[in-house]
């Protein structure tokens, strides 16, 4: 029979390292339904027994304030694992035991893995595992998760505890006379009413009532309203009594006594200090430089810039290779399949769609590798510490800086890894606000459009305008974040009480597992949906296709052109030589021009084209004609598409074939365009709906309703902004 075990512990206690050490590569990531807290499961064998090990989220406590804590509690109660491994950082024993005490109160069969005994020893802290185990009444096994030291002893102990098949025995901790009396009464009431009888121990429920635990209070009301009412009234009496006499809240007394209990245990010879506790550790010395008030921010900017370079420059080569592979594949299909819908769907729908999904993979891998280094080394917490004051003004969190930069805070990022990078934020509201505003940054795919329009209309000051638009994206993103935090994401800031873990060298194994997990999740979860939408967009821009008579018209034009030329020239083009002669070149250009006109006509005739045309009366308010509308629709597939669609749309209506005009010049000469229109279009493209790969990622990181919100909100916002710019600009005669 297989055994089920769970791994619980504080963040930064080495939980993931131990999990990787125990299960190796035999693990997979799943999400708990409805919330975005990861849930990892792995298996291992020891003494011919199979163990299924669940890695619970890292928590400091087991109240109902965060998703992580609820998951931990619910998992323990619903799944009732045979053994719970509580990993405890020996160099930070008191704080880590706070969770242990709560696990003891719940009564789960516990084994303590006393981790980082080497770090503790370096700091002159000697923890007597045997004494600690005796005082707590549970086995304590000293380990070093990084090196695997103590792994065998730990596994032996786990099997031993599992075989005993003990019942859950909740530990009673005294909370002082006032609370103990109340607790006894509540307990009796809970016991007689059989409230939560099959799940939690009665004393545990009584404590949760005193702690004002939302989840338990709601569940109690649902199960037995009368008893719940009685309990709540009793709690209120005690609370007001304590508040009057001692000026504190019951939950404060509970926390004080838990720490009192821990201190009383530690003082009984569990910990001995070899030298002065005030001495500076290596980590503190590093912090003296890295979080220095003057040097710190400079170093931080350098580190973030290096990460950015690493992600976007080093991933360039693999992206180019992948592009080449998909390009070759398209070429191959182009040559082998006959012209028609199937071919067009395979090339533009499937290959481009799969290529679009896979094309982001190197980016995501490099970025998560970089972030994993910053996170595992402990530096990311310092970044949050230094940036918090600025980001807090906008209702965000210090940790928001990373997703913003990755998304294009330094122009040329990408919102897809940016959205995924918001996982490092532990505060739900700040995380949502970050998630929804990072797509405003200027990602690499928007750059060609920006460059095209600036090049065409503001040729004299290109660099200044580029900088201006980068700054604009920051200002808009931060202000919109502030707006969201005062409206739909209203709420007090999540407390910043955060740990600055000691610096550590990340392990390569940990980094690789971390990177692979994220990448695989992206491919698996986002991949299929993205492929589907890609085919849908292809259909929008293809169907219903040109009517027969128009196709015939273009074919006729083609024939007329061909007839005018001599057979030698035609055969010269057919033989595809490297260098065409002058007349053949002209003919080839004429033919491709006819082809462009045909593509343009069929684009206009497609569903997307019809939508674009019908939107013109509205979009005119911002100065967009129907061609721009189509390009904007196409841009939802990927912002790269905007330039190529504009190219197709503006190939129409130019008679002079030999006059080789760039798209930029063409726009400049078009009567519909001027400087104000260019700025209005730019602003719209910078801020409207994120590309659908980003949208799918937003949905996966939060929910589909937020994803649709981001499409709708961003588009409306961008449109209002553009209309304002266009109308004011035209009114002032800046065009």
């Amino acid at each position: 029979m297989q055994l089920t075990m769970a791994l619980a512990g504080n963040p930064n206690a080495g939980k993931t390292t131990l999990f990787n050490q125990l299960t190796g590569a035999r693990q997979h990531v799943g999400n708990y339904p409805g919330i975005t807290v990861d849930h990892k499961e792995g298996q291992l064998h020891h003494n011919q027994r199979k163990i299924i090990l669940t890695d619970l989220p890292g928590t400091y406590s087991m109240t109902a304030y965060t998703a992580e804590e609820l998951v931990t509690r619910d998992y323990l109660i619903k799944e009732r694992p045979q053994v719970v491994i509580n990993i405890v950082d020996a160099s930070n024993l008191e704080r880590n035991l706070y969770l242990t005490v709560q696990l003891l109160e719940l009564g789960v069969p516990l084994v303590i893995a006393l981790n980082m005994i080497d770090v503790a020893q370096d700091r002159g802290i000697d923890v007597k595992a045997k004494v600690l185990g005796k005082l707590l009444g549970v086995p304590v096994v000293p380990i070093i998760a990084r090196s695997g030291h103590g792994k065998k002893e730990l596994l032996d102990t786990l099997l031993h505890v599992a075989e005993e098949q003990k019942d859950w025995i909740p530990r009673d901790i005294s909370y002082g006379d006032d609370l103990d009396t109340t607790l006894k009464e509540l307990e009796a009431e809970i016991l007689s009413a059989k409230l939560f009888a099959d799940t939690y121990p009665p004393r545990y429920i009584a404590i949760k009532y005193l702690e004002n635990d939302d989840q338990i209070l709601a569940k109690g009301k649902e199960d037995d309203a009368v008893t719940a009412e009685k309990l709540e009234r009793r709690v209120e009496q005690t609370a007001s009594h304590i508040h009057q006499t001692l000026d504190v809240y019951p939950e404060a007394i509970i926390a004080d006594h838990r720490y009192g209990y821990i201190k009383s245990i530690i003082r009984q010879g569990v910990v001995t200090h070899k030298f002065d506790t005030d001495r500076l550790y290596t980590s503190d010395k590093i912090d003296k430089v890295l979080t220095n008030r003057l040097v710190g921010p400079v170093i931080m900017l350098c580190i973030l810039f290096v990460l950015y370079q690493f992600t976007f420059s080093w991933s360039e080569a693999p992206v180019v290779w992948l592009d080449a592979i998909f390009g070759w594949l398209s070429g191959f299909i182009e040559k082998t399949l006959p012209d028609g819908l199937l071919k067009s769907m395979i090339i533009s729908g499937i290959i481009d769609g799969v290529g679009g999904v896979i094309g982001f993979v190197p980016l995501i891998m490099f970025m998560f590798f970089g972030i994993a280094i910053l996170e595992d080394s402990g530096y990311l917490a310092r970044v949050a510490f230094m940036m918090d004051r600025i980001f807090r003004v906008f209702g965000l969190h210090g940790s928001s800086v990373m997703p913003f930069i990755v998304s294009g805070g330094i122009a040329g990022g990408c919102a897809v890894p940016g959205v995924m990078a918001t996982r490092t934020l532990r505060s739900p509201k700040e995380r949502m606000a970050t998630l929804l505003t990072v797509p405003f940054m200027n990602c690499g795919a928007k750059l060609p459009v920006i460059a095209l329009l600036i090049g065409a209309f503001f040729n004299d000051n290109q660099a200044q305008y580029m900088f201006l638009f980068t700054m604009l994206s920051w200002v808009v993103a931060l202000l919109v974040a502030k707006f969201l935090r005062t409206t739909v994401l209203r709420g007090a800031p999540t407390p910043f009480v955060m740990e600055l873990p000691p610096y550590r060298f990340p392990t390569l194994k940990g980094l690789l597992i971390h990177t692979w997990e994220r990448t695989y999740q992206y491919i698996k979860k986002a991949g299929t949906i993205i492929l589907g939408i890609s085919i849908l967009l292809w259909a929008l821009m293809t169907f219903p296709g040109l009517p027969e008579d128009q196709v015939a018209l273009y074919e006729q034009q083609r024939q007329t052109t061909l007839e005018k030329s001599s057979p030698e020239i035609i055969s010269e083009i057919g033989s595809e030589p490297k260098q065409l002669s002058e007349p053949a070149m002209v003919l080839s250009q004429q033919l491709s021009h006819i082809n462009n006109l045909k593509m343009e006509a069929s684009l206009r005739h497609s569903i997307a084209g019809k939508i674009g045309t019908s939107m013109e009366p509205v979009s005119k308010l911002a100065g967009f004609d129907w061609r721009t509308d189509i390009a904007i629709i196409g841009g939802f597939a990927a912002k790269e598409v905007i330039v190529s669609t504009l190219g197709t749309a503006y190939s129409m209506g130019k008679d002079s074939i030999d006059k080789k005009e760039s798209l930029g010049q063409r726009l400049k000469n078009d009567p519909n365009w001027n400087r104000v229109v260019a700025v209005s279009v730019l602003i719209f493209i910078m801020f409207y709906a994120p590309c659908f790969v980003t949208v799918v990622c937003i949905a996966k990181e939060s929910s589909w309703s937020w994803a649709f919100f981001s499409i709708g909100f961003n588009t409306v916002f961008a449109f209002i902004f553009s209309v304002a710019v266009y109308q004011i600009g035209m009114f002032l005669g800046l065009g």
Partner: protein
């Protein structure tokens, strides 16, 4: 020994927490990290813009925003 607000403490200054007067999520967060009456803390430093503040508590380092530190009263050791 003088009692002062944690926000007013200077770098390197140490003291013992005497009271934490806040309930709800912030109160719980502060307490679960070990900031309870009787705990000794030392100010390790402040962020570039003077906020948040970093403290040494029980061998670890914690950060708090100034407006969160306001709820904590500390008895200064070596003033």
């Amino acid at each position: 020994m003088p009692l002062i607000n944690l926000r007013r403490m200077e770098k390197k200054q140490s003291g013992i927490i005497r009271s934490v007067k806040v309930s709800g999520e912030l109160g719980r967060r502060i307490r679960e990290m070990g900031l309870v009456p009787g705990t000794e803390i030392t100010i390790q430093g402040r962020a570039p813009l003077n906020d948040p503040v970093a403290l040494r508590v029980m061998g670890g380092t914690l950060t708090l925003r100034n407006n969160e530190a306001d709820y904590i009263v500390v008895e200064i050791k070596n003033s």
